[in-house]
């Protein structure tokens, strides 16, 4: 391996890692809602878009730095999620083990309303956030990367760590995991499943808001923003197995590596890159119904029987 190809490889890995942090934040919001309520939250894309615009509004109106703005965005979107749950939760929650198509369509309606509310409030013009450090870059292991993507990565890791601690170390986290595993059993042991669902929906919505806020520092956006990322998030949670923070992170890394690797090593045009992740979503759904963890345990079992 020559020096330049080694250099390219390192660059692919570092860029993928940086992207994976944000991908995982975005996907985890979907996963926590799916886990607790068994619903597929199509409104996630709308919430991400809203996160981007709220950050934009905070930045232009109050000249609040987008990363400090997260302190406002996260609780705001948590409340927004709880309100959404209180409005529509009766129709969404606890319809057995499989998600219902009704809840999917309902949340799809919510997405449309959010998207078009944004068209009314902020028009369809492309917006972007330019901070004093947007154009700056630093060098990591000989690879130049944007300062913003490093900040985004750090913020993502911080929020995922927070979530992981919340889920594993607190009573609330235990209750969320209990409802995820078996709603009825959790109820029988005294967990208020309705309240936990509201909190989980709030958490998922907050993560979508955070992801949207961070996207707004990296790229330009319109009210239509979010759809391709929603599909990527699905791809990640299908790959990651929807259950654990580490699974989701692994799924995010696989997708990011694939995207960056394709861009670096093949002549697939950038316009086709999205198609690759959508195709991966399809393949993952069909071929790996239990995600990478499922594949791993399957392989383990096969090698054990040999």
């Amino acid at each position: 391996m020559g020096a330049s190809s080694m250099q390219q490889f390192v660059s692919v890995v570092i860029n993928s890692l940086l992207a994976a942090g944000l991908y995982a934040t975005m996907a985890y919001g979907l996963a926590v809602i799916y886990g607790v309520m068994r619903i597929i939250n199509l409104a996630h894309a709308g919430v991400m878009m809203l996160g981007a615009y709220v950050t934009f509004a905070l930045f232009t109106r109050f000249s609040l730095d987008p990363f400090i703005g997260l302190v406002v965005v996260a609780p705001l979107f948590f409340l927004f999620g709880v309100v959404l749950y209180r409005l529509f939760g009766k129709r969404m929650a606890g319809s057995g083990t499989a998600p219902s198509i009704e809840s999917l369509l309902l949340l799809f309606g919510v997405w449309l309303v959010l998207q078009n509310a944004a068209y009314v409030i902020w028009t369809g013009d492309t917006q972007s956030i330019l901070t004093s450090y947007t154009m700056k870059s630093i060098e990591i292991a000989g690879v130049r990367v944007g300062l913003v993507s490093v900040f985004v990565f750090l913020a993502s890791v911080a929020s995922l760590l927070f979530l992981n601690i919340l889920l594993t170390r607190t009573y609330l986290g235990k209750a969320i995991r209990a409802v995820t595993q078996n709603r009825d059993a959790a109820r029988l042991s005294g967990v208020n499943a309705d309240r936990i669902s509201a909190i989980a929906f709030g958490l998922g919505t907050a993560f979508a808001g955070i992801a949207g806020a961070m996207f707004s520092t990296l790229m330009a956006f319109t009210p239509d923003f979010g759809r391709s990322f929603l599909l990527k998030a699905f791809c990640i949670i299908v790959l990651g197995g929807m259950e654990s923070v580490t699974g989701v992170a692994a799924g995010a890394l696989v997708l990011a590596l694939l995207e960056n690797g394709l861009a670096a090593y093949t002549s697939v045009p950038t316009s086709l890159q999205d198609a690759v992740s959508f195709a991966l979503l399809f393949v993952a759904l069909v071929a790996l119904p239990r995600g990478l963890p499922g594949l791993l345990s399957h392989l383990e079992r096969r090698s054990a029987t040999r």
Partner: protein
């Protein structure tokens, strides 16, 4: 009630067929759009309503039909001769997608179809023969308004009739069984996989023909117009607002949605945000009446029946 519906549908069919002799061009264009909407909604309902497999990827089939027609017309073939080919291509594509995708259930199938639809759109926008994002035009001088109008209207009538036929056939009952409980259906010997594939192929073929007629009517297509996600979306919305799984529902939904759209698009302030109304309608339907307008109608007739009975019992007493 059955007589009422058949008289009504026969009368409206006669009306739209006779319309060119007494309506002006603008209204005829609106009728064309109505027929287009009715066709898409009823075709989607074959799989989404009767069999309960909600797909959000139907723009792919519409685009296949539209592009088959334009590309072959540019080679000098009569556009109307290309309709069957577009339909066959779309049916083959639907089977290629369906073979793996129908292993997924409920919402997972829906998500997979969003992925397929978006992947097709992105691919179509980046290959050269589709004209990229700037689109392509039909050859000049190939437009005949009457032929165009009648073929769309006839397609709509045939599609609704097909839906009515399928619903009463053994095929339709198998689809209904799959919708209610796929495991139970398979246990009593319904081959769910092949029935779903057949319904998918049938509705894909109809949507592709509608796509061909779309290309003929507008004379210009682009990946952003025929492969658009919003198109897939309104295809799903119409039957849901009208009432999924019924024959009348998609027709009603198509009438409501496309009338709304024609009215709203004429108000410039709402041009960007008419999906707002769609979203609101979708939320309302899902919260209060998952059976759509048909469900509302059923409730009203139940209510009036009950009122009638109770008033009679008062009289009896």
């Amino acid at each position: 009630v059955k007589v009422f519906w058949s008289v009504l549908s026969a009368a409206s069919a006669l009306f739209v067929l006779a319309a060119p002799s007494f309506l002006d061009r603008g209204l005829l264009n609106d009728l064309w759009s109505l027929a287009f909407a009715v066709t898409l909604a009823s075709a989607w309902n074959l799989l989404g309503g009767f069999a309960g497999q909600v797909s959000l990827g139907y723009s792919a089939f519409l685009g296949i039909g539209a592009y088959t027609t334009v590309l072959l017309s540019l080679k000098g073939i009569d556009p109307f001769l290309t309709l069957p080919l577009g339909a066959i291509l779309a049916a083959i594509f639907s089977i290629a997608i369906g073979l793996p995708a129908f292993r997924l259930r409920g919402p997972y199938f829906t998500i997979a179809t969003i992925g397929v639809g978006e992947a097709v759109r992105v691919c179509a926008a980046s290959v050269s023969f589709t004209g990229g994002s700037s689109g392509i035009r039909m050859p000049a001088g190939s437009f005949d308004f009457n032929r165009n109008y009648f073929s769309m209207v006839i397609l709509a009538i045939v599609t609704v009739a097909l839906a009515a036929y399928v619903r009463r056939s053994a095929f339709g009952r198998a689809l209904a069984a799959i919708k209610q409980d796929i495991d139970a259906a398979e246990a009593v010997g319904v081959n769910a996989a092949s029935f779903k594939l057949a319904a998918h192929a049938l509705s894909a073929a109809v949507v592709a023909i509608a796509g061909s007629l779309y290309a003929i009517n507008f004379q210009y297509i682009a990946p952003g117009s025929v492969f658009d996600f919003q198109l897939s979306l309104s295809i799903v919305l119409m039957p849901i607002i009208g009432g999924v799984g019924t024959v009348v529902g998609p027709v009603l939904g198509a009438l409501v949605v496309s009338t709304l759209q024609i009215k709203l698009l004429s108000i410039s302030a709402l041009r960007d945000s008419f999906l707002f109304i769609y979203g609101g309608l979708l939320i309302l339907v899902m919260l209060y009446e998952p059976n759509g307008l048909v469900g509302v109608g059923r409730r009203l007739s139940d209510l009036s029946a009950r009122l009638f009975r109770s008033s009679r019992s008062i009289v009896d007493a």
